[in-house]
């Protein structure tokens, strides 16, 4: 059972992101980390491989050199090896370019399952795993909040707006895992030490047989404006009159 986990380095999730003059998020020199949304999928992958008792978890990440920190975190959690695709031509990549690059990197591996987060914490596009699945002619099982494997059949509980669906698929497949689906483990001290000697392959676009033309951005920010600030808000300390104040708001809104 070999599982590939797609991982992304994102600017510090708790921090305030900055926009550059080109309207892109500033990544260079920013503090960053493994996307917290990826840890749930990685945990699911580790559990699957541990349950089956054989196989490896491989991390694949596209990003600048600093993205190495995200791979290190994943390796420290227990992934066996990593692949990082770094190329100057990939700066500002859109979702199609990202999917093309990751699909090519996945193809080079021997795998049964590809796991990704539902969407990244910095971009929120949420379509890249489905695009990758189509490029690889694989089924995509998205929004999994639970995964069960029996022989070569994967069953997931797929989150819906009103509950969940049971979805069944043979392998190989692409799965996206929701935040909260698993309880991601913390790296042990041993894990952190071991991560340093685990193999990480670094690839360029050319290594994947792609050229800069294949990853031409198709989106350009042409205008950035500040949203109008909220007017007339008021903040008060809670006291005995607070319930009456809130009731006033409800009455003004004609909902009481």
């Amino acid at each position: 059972m070999n599982v590939i986990v797609l991982t992304k380095w994102v600017p510090e999730p708790e921090g305030t992101p900055k926009l550059g003059d080109d309207g892109l998020l500033v990544r260079e020199g920013a503090d960053g980390a493994l996307d917290p949304g990826d840890e749930y999928g990685l945990e699911a992958a580790l559990q699957l491989v541990e349950t089956v008792g054989e196989g490896e978890v491989t991390l694949i990440s596209m990003g600048p050199e600093v993205a190495h920190a995200a791979l290190q975190r994943g390796l420290a959690m227990g992934a066996h090896n990593g692949v990082r695709i770094t190329d100057d031509a990939l700066r500002g990549s859109d979702s199609l370019a990202t999917a093309r690059v990751l699909a090519k990197a996945i193809e080079r591996q021997d795998f049964d399952l590809v796991i990704a987060g539902v969407e990244s914490t910095d971009g929120y596009t949420g379509t890249v795993p489905a695009t990758i699945a189509e490029l690889l002619s694989l089924p995509s099982l998205t929004f999994a909040r639970e995964l069960h494997l029996s022989d070569d059949t994967l069953t997931i509980e797929r989150q819906t707006a009103t509950g969940y669906d049971d979805v069944v698929s043979p392998l190989p497949a692409v799965v996206t895992v929701t935040a909260g689906a698993t309880e991601p483990r913390y790296p042990s001290l041993k894990g952190v030490m071991a991560a340093k000697s685990k193999p990480v392959e670094t690839l360029s676009l050319a290594d994947l047989g792609l050229s800069a033309d294949d990853v031409q951005p198709t989106q350009k920010v042409v205008n950035v404006t500040d949203a109008p600030p909220k007017q007339g808000g008021e903040t008060i300390e809670a006291d005995d009159t607070t319930p009456a104040r809130i009731v006033e708001v409800l009455v003004e809104a004609k909902v009481l």
């Binding site: 992101p17 926009l19 309207g23 859109d94 199609l96 999917a99 914490t121 929120y124 596009t125 379509t127 890249v128 489905a130 695009t131 699945a133 189509e134 089924p139 995509s140 099982l141 909040r145 797929r158 819906t160 707006a161 009103t162 509950g163 969940y164 669906d165 049971d166 979805v167 069944v168 698929s169 497949a173 929701t178 935040a179 909260g180 031409q216 989106q219 350009k220 920010v221 205008n223 404006t225 500040d226 949203a227 909220k230 007339g232 808000g233 903040t235 008060i236 300390e237 809670a238 006291d239 607070t242 319930p243 009456a244 104040r245 809130i246 009731v247 708001v249 809104a253 909902v255 009481l256």
Partner: protein
């Protein structure tokens, strides 16, 4: 300009997001078509026509519902190749995201997610950093430009038209029927849907555990026509199901009043609720970002304020 809309349909009709997007498509294009696949599709042509579609490509075949995305994309990609729309708009839903993502691999066209407006055939607008910045994005590359629209970006308005229905063949190759939906489970709570409720009462990390959501349930019951929601922190912690989640990864709500307790106002949450007419926030953190967008911010202990508020409303109701 040919503008197409991906229609999310069930036996109950098209989704509200679909009709919102269609209303926009009507303003944008002179030829507006919708693609509706799965049980309920043909019946949905009525409301789809009323909201601006002049053509509805439809199939009621269950294959589009029983298997995730792949059969739908197979049919859709064929239609797109034949008719060459300039723009294809999608409501943001679980299934539409998958369809848009997979279609992109077929067409090699650009895909913009989380759009809040479409300004023309090649420009879409989005809001980032919790809605504090408005960003206009120019789209290039092969047609159709694929744009996923955030819920409640437009108001759905019927224009009274009718649509011609064109049957879509449902001959789907076997290898595209791998991911099979075998059963559906409903977990909806009682009361109005989050998206429809006049009042949303929401809780976050500050509630400290699942028990405290009972306080919000009681408050919602006292107000009436109120739904209970939650921040991602509360959902990730497992205190309430995902269907409660308001925010980037969850639902977008625009109620008359959004009353939240124990929510600091992370960017990811603000996106889902900042369109509320009135925002009341109760938090013990005087520095919480939610206070910057609240009409009434209350700095204090929610475990005192919420029950006291419930009592005040009940008193009002009984007139005592």
């Amino acid at each position: 300009m040919k503008v197409w809309v991906w229609a999310d349909v069930t036996e109950d009709g098209p989704s509200s997001g679909t009709l919102e997007v269609l209303t926009k498509a009507r303003d944008l294009g002179d030829e507006v078509a919708a693609v509706a696949l799965g049980p309920g599709a043909k019946a949905a042509a009525g409301p789809l026509g009323e909201h601006g579609a002049t053509t509805v490509f439809a199939s009621d075949d269950a294959v589009f519902d029983d298997h995730l995305a792949q059969p739908a994309v197979h049919a859709l990609a064929g239609l797109v190749e034949e008719h060459q729309p300039d723009v294809m708009l999608f409501p943001t839903s679980y299934d539409a995201r998958d369809v848009a993502g997979r279609l992109q691999a077929r067409t090699g066209s650009t895909l913009m997610a989380n759009a809040t407006d479409v300004l023309g055939p090649d420009t879409a607008r989005t809001e980032i950093l919790g809605g504090t910045k408005i960003v206009d994005v120019e789209l290039s590359g092969p047609a159709p430009k694929l744009v996923l629209i955030r819920p409640q970006s437009f108001e759905a308005k019927a224009s009274g038209g009718t649509a011609e229905v064109i049957e879509v063949p449902a001959d789907i190759p076997g290898e595209l029927k791998n991911a099979e939906r075998t059963e559906r489970h409903e977990e909806e709570s009682s009361g109005p849907r989050l998206e429809d409720a006049k009042v949303v009462v929401a809780g976050g990390r500050g509630l400290g555990g699942p028990e405290a959501f009972e306080l919000l349930d009681k408050l919602a019951a006292a107000i009436g026509n109120a739904a209970v929601g939650a921040s991602r922190a509360a959902v990730d912690a497992g205190w309430v199901p995902y269907s409660y989640q308001v925010g980037q990864t969850g639902k977008t709500v625009k109620p008359e009043v959004y009353l939240c307790a124990g929510i600091s106002g992370a960017l990811q949450h603000l996106v889902g609720m900042k369109g509320a007419k009135r925002i009341v926030a109760i938090t013990k953190d005087a520095d919480a970002p939610i206070l910057k967008i609240a009409d009434l911010g209350v700095v204090g202990d929610l475990f005192q304020v919420v029950p006291a508020l419930t009592e005040e409303i009940e008193k009002r109701r009984t007139g005592s």
